[in-house]
């Protein structure tokens, strides 16, 4: 583990009975870094995130935050799932407040951050609506708002825009980049879309097929906002595609 690392995965391994899914995965992530994880379909990306978020226990290995064992009760870990996880019984505003209220943050901070998220994610007019009354894109923004409002030490995102069309995806990706810089949160973003990964990430962790290990870590040094048509962008995208290719 490097001294500057905010988040470190040390030898993470996951077995389901005899099936080895994750095999001794290790990496460090600096504070505020935006890292994307890509890999072949079915390589275990979601399993990997579930282990990082402590939803499932690892068979062996550890996730460390600031050098300590990650603990959702102690550390601020947030997760934006692939499926919408906005609570249907809470309004847009209550959903955003929910995580902060669970963490017992002071009321002034909760109010301030809620207003900030509603403003940044263009949800002010829908603040009193329930999730069933808003569009899929807005629902995704609610979950993103709820996650970033916590100013998490580690935010895990599992293809949160998989259900959305391309226009909304770029719109939300820009919003996520803005929020990650503003909150200083470390983000691990899982996607099967390599273009999305190159658009967002400072580093891209490429995983292999099962049993999954880290194939390579690609640093992406392009300035934001990134031009998806530039040669540098397409070169990186093609290089990562070559790593994942199995055909």
């Amino acid at each position: 583990m490097s001294e500057k690392a905010k988040v470190s995965a040390v030898g993470l391994t996951k077995k389901f009975d005899d099936l080895l899914v994750l095999d001794n995965i290790s990496f460090d992530i600096a504070k505020g870094e935006f890292v994307c994880i890509v890999g072949p379909t079915g390589c275990g990306k979601t399993t990997f995130l579930n282990i990082l978020s402590k939803i499932w226990p690892a068979t062996s290995g550890e996730l460390l935050i600031d050098g300590e064992k990650a603990d959702p009760k102690k550390h601020n870990i947030a997760f934006a799932f692939q499926e919408s996880s906005a609570f249907p019984w809470l309004t847009v505003e209550q959903n955003i407040r929910f995580g902060m209220e669970q963490k017992n943050l002071p009321k002034e901070i909760i109010n301030e951050r809620t207003e900030q998220m509603l403003e940044l994610l263009e949800l002010k007019e829908a603040r009193n609506y329930f999730p069933r009354q808003i569009s899929a894109s807005m629902e995704s923004r609610v979950v993103i708002g709820r996650s970033f409002a916590l100013h998490p030490d580690l935010l895990l995102m599992d293809e949160p825009y998989a259900q959305l069309d391309i226009e909304f995806r770029y719109h939300l990706e820009d919003a996520v980049l803005k929020l990650s810089k503003m909150t200083g949160s470390t983000v691990i973003f899982v996607t099967h879309n390599i273009e999305e990964a190159v658009y967002l990430a400072e580093r891209c962790i490429v995983l292999t097929n099962k049993p999954t290990t880290v194939k390579t870590i690609e640093k992406i040094d392009l300035p934001y906002p990134r031009d998806i048509c530039s040669k540098e962008f397409t070169d990186i995208r093609d290089r990562i595609t070559d790593y994942i290719k199995w055909w």
Binding site: P72, A78, S85, F87, W89, Q102, L156
Partner: protein, 255 residues
């Protein structure tokens, strides 16, 4: 659809509903015209109801309604409280479920009316026995729906709560119960109509007043008018309660 189109459709629906009521009235008239000794006409029934309200002999119609309503009210609210608690315990505690669920599953299929003899032997023919029968009828659907609501909760909400760091109590009170709330309300709605069915059945067997008692007494004296009036009251009160419940549901469960 245009505004005019929608208005037309609504008007057509209202006319069809009116036609269905008129059809019943026409059939009623036809039967009472052919067999006046079996069925009084709608107008005669209305007159008889008016008479029962204005000049009651013995227990008045409203006293019968009030007696049935009070029994339903007490039993339904006790069953709601107990049913939700037991349903939540089934869904939340594996030990409790393993211990109590087999007994519950064994007793659940027994129709509430089948309990009447046991309850009468245990509690006599007073108010407690009738309330107990209604309680059993209302309790079962509330437990079943509360439990199945908890079991059918989308696991994504549990995951979201877990990641946020909600403890077990917060998970139950702030995620699992709210997520199951629509199911709980559906169980309560079923229980409400079940309560009315049970109170009538119980009053038909062991009571001195109540709509069920009125039906049986009227049957014994061959008073079809009184039977019809009682049935209309049961149907009217059930429909009214169901309407009020839907309104309440829209307020307390707006999602």
């Amino acid at each position: 659809m245009t505004n005019d189109g929608e208005k037309m459709k609504k008007a057509l629906c209202a006319v069809i509903s009116l036609l269905s009521v008129l059809t019943i009235l026409v059939f009623w008239y036809m039967i009472s015209w052919k067999n006046p000794e079996l069925m009084p006409t709608p107008v005669e029934t209305l007159k008889q109801m008016f008479e029962m309200i204005v000049n009651p002999t013995g227990v008045s119609l409203f006293e019968h309604v009030a007696a049935s309503f009070t029994r339903v009210f007490i039993a339904y609210f006790s069953a709601t409280l107990a049913g939700v608690l037991i349903g939540v315990a089934f869904g939340w505690s594996e030990i409790f479920r393993d211990f109590v669920h087999p007994i519950f599953e064994l007793l659940r299929p027994i129709p509430p009316i089948a309990w009447i003899p046991i309850i009468v032997i245990w509690f006599g023919i007073g108010e407690v026995s009738k309330i107990a029968i209604v309680f059993i009828g209302a309790f079962v659907p509330i437990v079943v729906n509360t439990y199945s609501g908890m079991m059918q909760m989308d696991p994504i909400y549990e995951k979201a709560g877990k990641v946020i760091g909600a403890n077990r109590k917060e998970m139950l009170l702030e995620i699992v119960i709210p997520a199951s709330f629509p199911h709980i309300l559906a169980g309560m709605k079923t229980a409400l109509s079940q309560s009315w069915a049970c109170v009538i059945a119980a009053e038909m067997i062991v009571a001195q007043k109540g709509l069920g008692y009125l039906i049986v007494r009227s049957m014994e004296s061959g008073n079809m008018g009184n039977i019809l009036i009682s049935i209309f009251f049961i149907s009217g009160i059930s429909a009214l309660l169901s309407y009020l419940f839907n309104k309440l549901e829209a307020i307390i469960c707006p999602w």
